[in-house]
């Protein structure tokens, strides 16, 4: 037999090739063409790593900051960073700033739709940009921590620790938001959605998105090294609402939001090109996070998964004027990312223009940078130390079951 069939490969073999500068790395877009031209088997032999990328609003994000101790010492019990409240229920000078926290005096939605100009995501963006951020803090004072008030500038360069700790990022697929109301436009975390099926918002990089290229989480798990906002970061847990047991297509790809990742990385190494505070009109503050994940081509199966294309990934079209908010109804239908990216989808016989919220251009950029890092031998593939829950666990995202509290306020 002339077949020198080298697959399956191991993580160690792939990393050895990266070390020697011999690894073949392609982006998930390039992998589509390669598999189409040469077939799964040849592509699996040839390619060592496929890089993915995504850049979009990811609400469940935030940063842990250790400011160092003041003199005298203080056990901070309330804190504001540029007037945005931070969480202080940790140790004396450990703070957590979440991206959806609005500024203290923000008018919110009192005049609808509110603008939400500055929030926790913008504070983190300013920290990454190495701008000074004002810290105002209060405390009740103890014998060991006598100080009661603080007002100072801080800078990421001088903080002891400053790292992103995002409980849920990189959603594997997501809803397409439409508006069935004939009365008014709606203002959602999916942007402005125009009345009477006037527009359809979607938010995934589709064929470039990390978890859509590894649908059963074979290689993306706890410990996986990733591109996080321009730095090297890690997956530290399954993301909140991780729901592997959703309906899947024949190719294994979930047909709605399902898997998610919790990620961590050092703010001091990040780049504002890939982390941006964001303001969603009438909804609130959030942040857009750039994530790229390398997928080792261990065998033919991984080559097939990473060749998934927009036409083969579908998403549910959901009414956000009523059904989403009230947990009612069913999707109006399913559309593919190829249709979504064509600019128009057809629902109920109507052509609806589409609005992307996820930047495909930035997703391409991220996949490209990660490819370069690996090709230059600066980034190695980390085998997960534990895999994420898979569909066979039956794990599914559950709604809250309310239990009446006697004497409670409904």
């Amino acid at each position: 037999m002339k077949e020198a069939f080298t697959v399956p490969k191991t993580y160690a073999e792939i990393n050895e090739k990266i070390r020697k500068g011999q690894a073949v790395v392609v982006t998930a877009e390039e992998m589509i063409d390669l598999v189409e031209e040469e077939g799964v088997k040849k592509a699996a032999e040839k390619v060592d790593v496929v890089t993915t990328g995504t850049f979009g609003p990811m609400c469940s994000s935030g940063a842990v900051l250790n400011t160092g101790h003041s003199t005298p010492r203080m056990k901070i019990s309330k804190a504001w960073l540029n007037d945005v409240p931070a969480y202080c229920g940790l140790a004396a000078v450990d703070l957590y700033i979440g991206v959806t926290e609005p500024q203290q005096d923000d008018p919110l939605n009192t005049v609808h739709p509110g603008q939400f100009r500055y929030g926790g995501g913008h504070v983190i963006e300013d920290l990454i940009a190495r701008k000074d951020v004002r810290l105002v803090a209060e405390a009740y004072g103890t014998d060991c921590y006598p100080r009661k008030a603080l007002d100072t500038w801080i800078n990421v360069k001088t903080l002891n620790q400053a790292y992103l700790l995002n409980p849920r990022n990189s959603y594997q697929n997501y809803n397409v938001a439409v508006n069935l109301s004939t009365q008014r436009d709606i203002y959602t975390y999916m942007g402005v959605v125009k009345k009477d099926l006037g527009s359809a918002s979607f938010c995934s990089a589709g064929q470039l998105s990390p978890l859509l290229n590894d649908p059963y989480y074979r290689t993306i798990g706890i410990g996986t090294r990733i591109f996080l906002a321009g730095a090297q970061g890690y997956v530290y847990w399954e993301g909140t609402q991780h729901s592997p047991s959703e309906a899947r297509g024949e190719n294994g790809v979930p047909k709605c939001g399902s898997g998610t990742l919790a990620v961590v990385g050092d703010l001091k190494d990040m780049d504002t090109e890939f982390f941006r505070g964001a303001s969603m009109l009438g909804y609130g503050c959030t942040a857009a996070v750039g994530i790229g994940i390398p997928i080792p081509i261990l065998d033919e199966e991984m080559a097939r998964y990473t060749a998934v294309k927009d036409a083969d990934i579908v998403a549910p079209v959901v009414d956000y004027s009523h059904n989403y908010g009230h947990n009612e109804g069913k999707p109006l239908g399913y559309v593919s990312y190829a249709e979504l990216k064509s600019g128009t989808i057809n629902i109920n016989g109507r052509d609806i223009p589409t609005t992307p919220l996820s930047s495909y251009r930035k997703a391409q950029q991220i996949a490209g940078i990660l490819k370069e890092w690996i090709a230059r031998g600066e980034f190695f593939i980390q085998e997960p130390i534990q895999l994420l829950p898979t569909p066979d666990t039956g794990q599914k995202f559950k709604p809250l079951k309310e239990r009446p509290v006697s004497g409670g306020v409904a």
Partner: protein, 135 residues
Amino acid sequence: METRRVVLRFPKHLLDKPITSQLVRQFDLEFNILRADITQESEGLLIMGLTGKKANLEKGLRWAREQGVEIQPLSKDVVRNEKACTHCGACINVCPTDALTIDLETRDVIFNANRCIACELCVPACPFRAMEVAF
């Protein structure tokens, strides 16, 4: 024939004078008003498209300037902050004139200032506040 989209600023003392009317009559121009405002400083603001023969357009605008009206092309007042734009596309559905569109090949968001009517709907709709309108 040629169309120019311009921003006209009328100082306070010109507010009660029929300048626009004289401009279109004297120089045989057609006008399409996109927006008209009186600002807090009691200045008049008029954004419009003017169509006519090139020579007439130039003469007319020169005449209006001589009357004390400040004039500049619309495209100078509506700009995209290129550093802030992430090319997501969240703006394209609110734009009524397709001045903001997505290039289906490159996935870049294209801002065509020539189509912009300065309605400002994109300003708050952009999550990154990349659209800047200065009037």
